[in-house]
């Protein structure tokens, strides 16, 4: 297990290869963000019957670069009542996890460089998935501290929303991820990808439910529409980044889009088989990367599509969806998959296991429904909203 790069000890070549991979991933993420911002603006303008950016470079490709340059030359402001150190720290707390999370994503097969075999993946720790969850947990701090340290009310409201939303949906997301981990029997991202080889993608092997739950929860984690209550312009100006300008704002912006790319990469890894795809004899090392990028692009498109289609949730709808629907559903599905696995290992009749599972699910659903009804009765004011 692990990267074969380190099997024969660590020498200069190994260090250089790792440094090279760091650089490649860093560069890839930056370019991906440039591309993603452009892609989002272009696709959304297509969907709104507009032309979209078309002035900077061919098809407006350099628009993001122009915007970035503009941001860098703007004045960096700090509110009087800001907590100076935390205010400065927050953008970095936001961007570093966005970069770091990509480290465990396998984006290609195994290749040879200078006599060393290595995975196209920066690190393959045995706790890869936990690392992902940890990083998305830290990213909440960036948003939370930014809002708190601004010393101003809208950012505070935004960050309170953000922390509540991210914590709520992290639970549903973790349960969906746990289902994928259960299928692979490993927390290592590469093992999860290997377990999906031969078109046994988690997307359909686990039933579509964990995938759907993951996508919804991930969108909420990313604060992307329709879950962008954190920075709802009509209500909170800019939410947590209202008081930020210049480079610090650029960092938040970068982190937000980088998180989108990273989260899509994680979704591809966990549910769409990562770099798996048809093997083609010509340039065999290249194709896994191509498949990975193609799936990534599909996901990015889906995010933009979601944004173009759905209006923003109301706050109580958001909480209802998270706590009353997604968490029970993903928990039930995790248990169902677990039961099916145990049944298979023990040689039980799959039909009986499935039947009992569905029956238990039905009972659980009825109990939950009754509980919610009772709760609504107890708190009529809440039910009225």
């Amino acid at each position: 297990m692990g990267d074969p790069l380190f099997e024969e000890g660590i020498d200069l070549a190994v260090v250089l290869i790792v440094a090279g991979k760091v650089l490649v991933i860093f560069g890839f993420l930056l370019v991906a963000v440039l591309f993603m911002v452009w892609f989002e603006r272009k696709v959304i303008s297509d969907m709104q019957s507009r032309i979209g950016p078309n002035r900077a470079g061919p098809w407006g490709l350099l628009q993001t670069l122009a915007d970035g340059t503009k941001l860098f030359f703007k004045e960096d402001l700090m509110p009087d009542r800001a907590d100076r150190r935390v205010f400065r720290l927050a953008p970095f707390l936001s961007i570093v996890p966005a970069f770091a999370a990509f480290a465990v994503v396998p984006f290609g097969g195994t290749i040879s460089i200078a006599g060393h075999r290595t995975h196209l993946q920066l690190a393959d720790p045995p706790v890869g998935v936990l690392f992902l969850l940890a990083m998305s947990g830290i990213a909440v701090y960036g948003v939370m501290l930014a809002g708190w340290a601004s010393g101003s009310k809208y950012p505070l409201l935004g960050s309170v929303r953000a922390s509540a939303q991210m914590v709520s949906y992290e639970a549903a997301m973790s349960l969906a991820i746990a289902t994928a981990v259960l299928a692979a029997g490993s927390l290592s991202t590469r093992d999860i990808v290997i377990a999906q080889e031969g078109w046994r993608w988690n997307l359909w092997v686990l039933g579509v439910v964990p995938f759907v739950v993951f996508i919804i929860a991930a969108t909420a984690e990313l604060n992307r529409p329709p879950f962008d209550l954190v920075e709802a312009e009509q209500e909170l100006v800019g939410g947590f980044h209202t008081e930020y300008a210049s480079i610090s704002f650029a960092l938040f912006f970068l982190a937000e889009f980088m998180n989108t790319v990273t989260m899509s990469a994680i979704a591809v890894t966990l549910f769409l088989g990562g770099p798996n795809g048809p093997r083609i004899g010509f340039l065999p090392d290249l194709w896994p990367v191509v498949w990975f990028m193609a799936k990534l692009l599909l996901f990015l498109f889906a995010y933009v599509w979601l944004r173009a289609t759905l209006p923003r949730f109301r706050y109580d709808q958001l909480m209802d969806l998270g706590w009353k629907k997604l968490i029970p559903l993903s928990l039930y599905w995790l248990l169902l998959i677990a039961a099916l696995r145990i049944g298979r290992d023990q040689g039980w009749n799959a039909g009986v296991v499935l039947g009992v599972g569905v029956a238990v699910g039905g009972v659980g659903w009825a109990v939950l429904g009754a509980a919610l009804k009772q709760g609504a009765k107890v708190q009529p004011a809440e039910a009225a909203t």
């Binding site: 969907m47 078309n54 599509w305 173009a308």
Partner: protein, 212 residues
């Protein structure tokens, strides 16, 4: 499809027509009576139409016009009348393009073109003097470096004035009641209201839409 209908609609839009166009490269035709940058017209013999009466300056709500009249020099008259506009300045940082000056003008000397895309980096540039406002010897407006003239724009310097000028009374519909201009001669009258309304009807809803 219920909840998913929206997704189908947004996806379908991707291949649909565009309602916007590539603006600085492609411009929509402007409305007939668009108010833009002014020009000071001349008669066909090259004489200036302005007689320095200062009615435009008097009517201007933004007080952006400054005019001083002077007697025509007998040996080389500038305008056919007794007096001419000796100084004529419009401050475009104040002008609101209300067109009252055009309505006030007794000789149709001042009219508005359809040019609105001009921006300056210097306050002095914003004050247009006679040198910039009076049309050139071909009757076309003088094109300053910071103005975005497109081929054909110089045609539209006074065509719409007739409807609101004194001779634009409804009883004069379709009748010429104005003098000739350098470079254009006597402009033909506006269409009468019935046929104008007919021709302005869009061919179909969203007729202005363009393929990308």
């Amino acid at each position: 499809m219920g909840y998913l209908d929206g997704f189908r609609i947004t996806l379908k839009q991707m291949w649909g027509d565009r309602v916007t166009n590539a603006y600085p490269d492609v411009k929509r035709p402007k409305p007939d009576r668009f108010h833009g940058r002014h020009v000071l017209n001349r008669y066909e013999d090259g004489m200036e139409k302005c007689i320095g009466c200062e009615l435009c300056a008097g009517v201007c709500p933004a007080r952006c016009i400054y005019v001083r009249g002077a007697d025509n020099p007998p040996d080389a008259p500038v305008s056919p009348g007794e007096r001419y506009g000796f100084v004529y300045e419009i401050n475009y940082l104040r002008c609101i393009h209300c067109d009252l000056c055009v309505e006030a003008c007794p000789t149709e000397a001042i009219t508005e073109s359809k040019l609105f895309e001009f921006s300056f980096t210097d306050r002095q540039d914003a004050i247009y003097t006679k040198a910039e406002l009076v049309v050139g010897d071909d009757g076309h407006p003088r094109k300053l470096p910071w103005e975005d003239w497109r081929p054909g724009d110089e045609e539209h310097t006074s065509a719409w004035v007739r409807a609101t000028a004194p001779s634009g009374d409804a009883t004069f519909e379709g009748r010429v009641g104005w003098s000739a201009e350098l470079g254009f001669g006597v402009r033909s009258p506006e269409k009468d209201q019935a046929s104008a309304a007919e021709s302005q009807k869009p061919a179909k809803p969203g007729g202005a839409r363009k393929k990308r």
